[in-house]
Amino acid sequence: METFLQVLLSGATMGCIYAFVALGFTLTIAAAGVVNFAYSEWVTFGSYFGVTFAVILGWPLWLALGASIAGCIAIGWLFQLFVFTPLEGRHFLTSVSATIGIALAMQALVTLLWGPYPLTLPTFFGSSAVQIGTISVFPHNLLIIALAVLIIGGLQLALTRTSIGLRLQATAQDPMAARLMGIPVRRMRTLAYCLSAGIAGLSGFLVAPLFVVTNTMGFGLMLKGFAATIVGGWGSLKGAVYGGLLVGLIEALGAAYISSEYKELIAFAMIIVVLLVRPRGLFPERIAEKL
């Protein structure tokens, strides 16, 4: 039981991180059908921004967090101009290859800008664990889970309760009809891109203390995020969150109760099973196919 709870906690933490990544990944898909394989580098830049502001410049952590998010949003803005807008409406593979190219360039840029050595970022609450009952809890993990609940919940509220959120949803669901409602589709998409980038900045800042900041840290994360995106259901925000949690938990439980050697194998096998049972993901979008 003790082990189970402990594993559950760590699996949930990773799940929340995957959910963040999947969410950011899905936002651009939902808003304009653009797949962003450079998302790994967005997150990486978020981490490096955090190190730059908090460690190199010595700003307070919360200020550095804000600045990292802002930095990533600036990247998102540039992507909107030079990558996403030209890709809207193109084949999914075109956006894959274009964003992979940018990702390669960004990864090389990281080494040039920040040097080759790994870096790290302190947490808000130090590095020692707190004992709660029989399980030990790392405050930073709790922060990640709490922020995930807060941000994902807040985003859910913003998307469903505010008029701008509803307009964003409307743009995603039917851009043509959205224009007829007077919704500025271009600006809504930019908003979605910036949201996606903001999430990357936040995720980058949050994972930095857990992950050690290196130029290749984002790739594995994005792979899991990508899997979560599809397992959840292509383009479904809700699916992304549940998909992320699912992948995180399967990994942790598989490693704890079956074998750490075969942990990855179990995770991928589970993905295969999920897809065979639900060929359109856990939360398929309800759009009728027409012939």
């Binding site: 790290t120 050690v212 750490s260």
Partner: protein, 371 residues
Amino acid sequence: MKLLTVLSAAALALGAVSAQAQSDITLGMVVGTTGAFAGGEAPLVNGVKLAVEDVNAKGGVGGRKLKLVIEDTGSEQTGAVNAYNRILAQKPVAIMDTTVSGFVLSQLGAIEDEGVPTFTGAATAQIALDKKGVANLFRVRTSDSLVPGAATRFAARNLQAKRIGVLRVNNEYGAGWRSAIEGALAEMGMKPAIVESYEGADRDLTPQLLRIKEANVDALIVAGDPPNHVVAVQQIRQLGLNAKVIMSNSGVLPTTLRLYQGGAADGFYGTVDSLPAANPAHKAWADRYKAAFNVDADYSAAEYYDGVMMLADAIAKAGEKPADIVKALRALKDRAGVGNTYTYADKGDGGQTVAIGEIKGGRLELAAQVK
């Protein structure tokens, strides 16, 4: 296909450019300056640069200066083969090669065929450099057939551990450590209490550490890359695992030591080939290094430095023909360098020293000199 001819013409033109500096001796270096291994291999470049400076400051070799040419592996296998071949095309007198074992294994054909003296820090026991090894390949580090064994014996003898666990990364490096540890334990009539593995990209080791905790180990040997060690240390602390921990080399590199937050790794051990603190020559060299590059030196940089110095001596003694250089190097016995002591007399495994360091106050101090 036309493209291919254009490409080769372009490459040819590039090759011609490098031929201009006739009077210099070209020393090649193949490392990852980009990609996943850039961090791990940057110190090697520094070490070699320092050595080239030192050699040239003394007037070079036989009146000719050493010129360093670095090619990037891109931290990829094919990139490593291409980089090695690129250097060969520039007719180097010798090549300081990557520490990534898989890459060296892929280059092995070219290394053997061309016969250019090549130094590597790849420690894997798989590159057989014992008596039958590749004649012109010289290991400047202590082989992984020795280091994990030393760590294991240190755990069993010095730390009096009865139950020894292994947590290793699931790649070629971790696999080498695992089998060497099992071998060393078997010699002492023991078996590992538990062996757990993780992927190089994993950042949550909770399930593995809980199993290790349940296995009740006295000592845990952790093998992996710097980020893996940082994550492992952090989570070992958080989960309250009460075992002595011995980390593989990359866990105690100066650039890794900076990453442990709030003294988290204090009291943990790590393997090194040598420690500046334990060797005055090494210490003096490390101070110079720090002054030059504003980062603490690690022993592998010192070993690559030694490699260049041994090479310079060999050229001075035997001339620039590859076969002659190899022959001269093969005569070395117990040659003391700053980072290790080298014997190439009957094998390519030059380095022999292993030390165990203990982290105290964020710095590494000598706990035991094994050889």
